[in-house]
């Protein structure tokens, strides 16, 4: 037999001025199942709560309804009070007679009548409430960082410094990412390698960090606190434990025609190589598409010269499986292909290059040893024209609709560096808008114009064509309302950036949501910007949206803070208001899993009794309560009604509907 207690709050005069609270309590007293009804000035006060606790004990209440302000305000308060009195906290319902009644109505009679209905509705619901217990799930105290760029490195270091084990999975042969390719960084112009490589070394030396380079995430199972990740360790044909990074193999390798990806294919490298001097791990890798031994079976020179016997042409991909409590996605970006933009002539002219290619041409470790020479003839370019927004802010379908955010600043940086190093060079920049929000950013850009005399032209380039070995850049100068043609030696395209394409697969594995531009979606754009909606998955760097190095590092550290906050817990309390299937009714049709935004639903084969001693095996849904967030999408999709939501069951909601409609 249900014993319901009802408590009507006056909220001073907030409720009592328009709702006859005493009358409400009086009317409700005679509702079936209600054994106690009271009213009080401030139910949420210490005394009010005491009243609730006392009544629960004295009247042996099985459920309580508080007629007061919005449950968004004090539901938690009254749940705690109930719990303190020995009643399950989920046996509490709040009827919102303030925001949804007394505050919006003027007429006392009308408001009182509505308050009664609202309280009745809550009673109807609470009668069907079931005691719920928050579950617990253990936390594996190890984090996975996917991507070894500056975002991944920073996140890993911060997490490891807090004392937790971290694995970095990097698909390339070395960590470092895009930042390793960059020459100088804005707005301070310090050398990228000088600030990045010490961090890479820190990672390698940190006892809590395990770098899994040349590896990819293959499969992810599990949920927050308890991910089970399968990692493919790609065959590098060099034993990582033996190679000392002496580079003798690189010298001796007869196949030297492989394009050097690290230098944006501007020069070549041997078939066995270490991507760059400061690579971590400093271990060689063989490119099987270039290796003569692997293509023809003859050669084996590197093996012969390797002093430690590290070369193994027979090496195969291997797989490892590890458990993690949290995952940081830091997969980074790549510049878009500019093939769609014929007008800039990238594919027809060697001297039309992208900005990342220019970074390598200006880098001391690059193909030209840091001397700016144009690719076609190795001459010093005298006139250089930059074109901004190549493929950014483009809704025509050729490019990306968003602003890539970093191009304005790096173009100013390039222009400035060139003017500084080669004062006899003329530098022009075609721009649509120069966007420089950031500390010391606009000052930096103005310096390029005012101090270094870079010629900024408001307008866009319509065509780049070759005339007698000169690149003719035709564009508009909107301020002067004229069309101009600049005879240039080198044209640099500030190509838009896009998320590294492999992020799609990762997002699918993690059931992390992704937007139409392949950027991972954050849980809340303002308040939870580093968390994915999938619990336990965090986002750092450009995989979440275009951003520069300082922002990336901030986000990575924010991720680390979130991860540490998760990993310090031994157990996670789970929301008890989760979906649960009635297995006896479940068809196993997969419709619910199709709509679950969290991937909380899996299927298991179970044996069911049919009667008469017979059994059958059926496929039924199984909800992981640690992952389910309780939205209820699955409950409506389920054709048999097998799926229901605790705390908001179909029966509860229907009884509310009935109570409201019963006039």
């Amino acid at each position: 037999m249900q014993r319901i207690g009802v408590f009507i709050c006056w909220c001073g005069s907030n409720i009592a001025a328009t709702v006859d609270v005493e009358k409400v309590a009086e009317v409700i007293k005679s509702e079936p199942g209600v054994v106690y009804a009271a009213n009080y000035q401030y139910m949420c006060s210490e005394n009010g709560q005491q009243l609730v606790k006392q009544a629960i004990k004295e009247h042996n209440l099985t459920g309580i309804v508080i007629g007061a302000c919005s449950p968004r305000m004090h539901e938690a308060t009254f749940r705690k009070a109930a719990e303190a009195a020995g009643l399950n906290p989920y046996m509490v319902e709040v009827a919102n007679i303030r925001e949804h009644c007394s505050w919006i109505h003027k007429d006392m009679e009308e408001a009182t009548e509505k308050a009664v209905i609202l309280v009745r509705t809550a009673i109807a619901k609470v009668k069907l409430n079931a005691p719920l217990m928050a579950g617990e799930s253990p936390v594996v105290k190890r984090a996975l960082v996917i991507g070894g760029g500056i975002a991944g490195i920073q996140a890993a270091l911060d997490i490891a410094d807090a004392g937790f084990e971290v694995d970095i999975v990097e698909k390339n042969a070395t960590i470092g990412g895009r930042m390793a390719q960059i020459d100088k960084t804005f707005p301070t112009l310090d050398c990228s390698a000088c600030i990045l490589t010490p961090k890479m070394v820190d990672c390698a030396q940190h006892e809590k960090i395990d770098i899994l380079s040349y590896s990819e995430v293959e499969d992810v199972k599990g949920f927050v606190g308890n991910f089970n990740v399968k990692i493919r360790r790609k065959a590098r044909f060099v034993d990582e434990t033996k190679c000392t990074g002496c580079k003798i193999c690189m010298e001796k390798c007869p196949s030297k025609k492989g394009l050097n990806e690290f230098n944006m294919n501007l020069n070549t490298r041997p078939a066995i190589y270490i991507p760059f001097a400061q690579a971590i791990p400093n271990v060689a890798v063989i490119d099987p598409t270039q290796c003569i031994k692997m293509k023809t079976g003859k050669c084996g020179i590197c093996q012969k010269f390797c002093g430690v016997g590290a070369i193994d042409y027979e090496q195969k991909d291997t797989f490892i499986e590890r458990q993690y409590g949290a995952i940081v996605v830091a997969t980074g970006f790549k510049p878009i292909s500019v093939d769609n933009f014929n007008e800039y002539g990238y594919n027809d002219n060697k001297d039309v290059i992208t900005s990342l290619e220019l970074e390598r041409l200006m880098n001391a470790a690059g193909p030209t040893n840091g001397v700016l020479l144009r690719p076609s003839d190795g001459e010093h370019p005298k006139v250089i024209t930059f074109i901004q927004c190549v493929g950014s802010r483009d809704t025509s379908g050729c490019g990306k609709p968003y602003c890539s955010k970093i191009c304005c600043m790096y173009t100013a940086k390039h222009a400035m560096l060139i003017r500084e190093k080669y004062p006899d060079t003329e530098v022009h920049v075609f721009y649509i808008d120069v966007r420089t929000p950031g500390k010391n950013y606009d000052e930096f850009f103005r310096r390029a114009v005012e101090q270094y005399g870079v010629d900024y032209i408001k307008g866009m380039v319509g065509k780049v064509y070759n005339e007698n070995g000169k690149l003719m850049v035709q564009g508009s100068n909107l301020i002067d309302n004229e069309q101009i043609t600049i005879e240039s030696d080198l044209v640099v395209l500030a190509a838009a950036i896009e998320p590294e394409p492999s992020v799609r697969k990762i997002a699918t594995l993690l059931t992390a949501s992704i937007d139409t531009n392949n950027f991972l979606t954050e849980s809340h754009a303002k308040l939870r910007p580093v968390e994915s909606p999938t619990a336990g998955v965090y986002l750092a760097g450009v995989c979440q949206g275009p951003k520069d190095i300082p922002e990336t590092v901030s986000q990575a550290s924010a991720c680390a803070a979130k991860v540490i906050g998760l990993l310090v817990k031994d157990k996670l309390k789970t929301n008890p208001c989760v979906a649960t299937p009635d297995e006896t009714m479940c068809n196993g049709c997969s419709q619910c899993a199709n709509v679950c935004p969290y991937g909380a639903i899996t299927y298991v084969e179970k044996e069911f009794r049919l009667g008469g001693g017979k059994t059958e095996i059926r496929r039924v849904a199984s909800v992981n309560p640690a992952v389910c967030q309780g939205c209820g999408a699955c409950t409506v999709t389920c054709p048999s009604g097998a799926m229901d939501l605790k705390g908001f069951s179909s029966k509860q909601i229907m009884s509310e509907v009935e109570a409201i409609c019963k006039m």
Binding site: R393, D394, T395, K458, G459, M460, Q474, G475, L478
Partner: protein, 128 residues
């Protein structure tokens, strides 16, 4: 017709949304007739947006535009400046109430050097 109606009319005729323009000037950057146009392609878009209808209807540029559609091809925002030019021109031609170029006028002027594009363009330009 009120100014607003004429603006709406031009917008409708052009079939393009001038509000999508982000004022990059790429259209004018490529326009082969740029130097012969008193109002430049990007200005057409901007002026229609601002409702400077009188100036547009009185300009010479509508006759100098080659209708080559390079600006349409280049626009990163899917705006069609040439369509705005065409809308203005059509409005003028219609107001004059006569066809400037009839189908039978064409054969006599055709020779092997005239590009097809020119004929198409001329027909677009002088016909209502």
């Amino acid at each position: 017709m009120t100014k607003q109606e004429r603006m709406d009319n031009l917008n409708r005729l052009s079939g393009t949304d001038v509000k999508k323009c982000m004022k990059c000037g790429k259209c004018s950057g490529r326009c082969p007739a740029f130097h012969d146009m008193d109002i430049k392609p990007h200005q057409f878009v901007s002026m229609l947006g601002q409702g400077k209808i009188e100036e547009l209807l009185a300009c010479d540029a509508i006759w100098n535009c080659l209708s080559c559609m390079a600006c349409v091809e280049r626009c990163p925002r899917g705006v069609a400046p040439a369509s705005v030019v065409e809308a203005v021109r059509d409005t003028v031609v219609r107001a004059q109430g006569k066809n400037g170029l009839k189908a039978e006028d064409i054969p006599p002027i055709v020779d092997e050097f005239i590009p097809q594009q020119l004929l198409v363009s001329a027909y677009r330009k002088y016909n209502k």
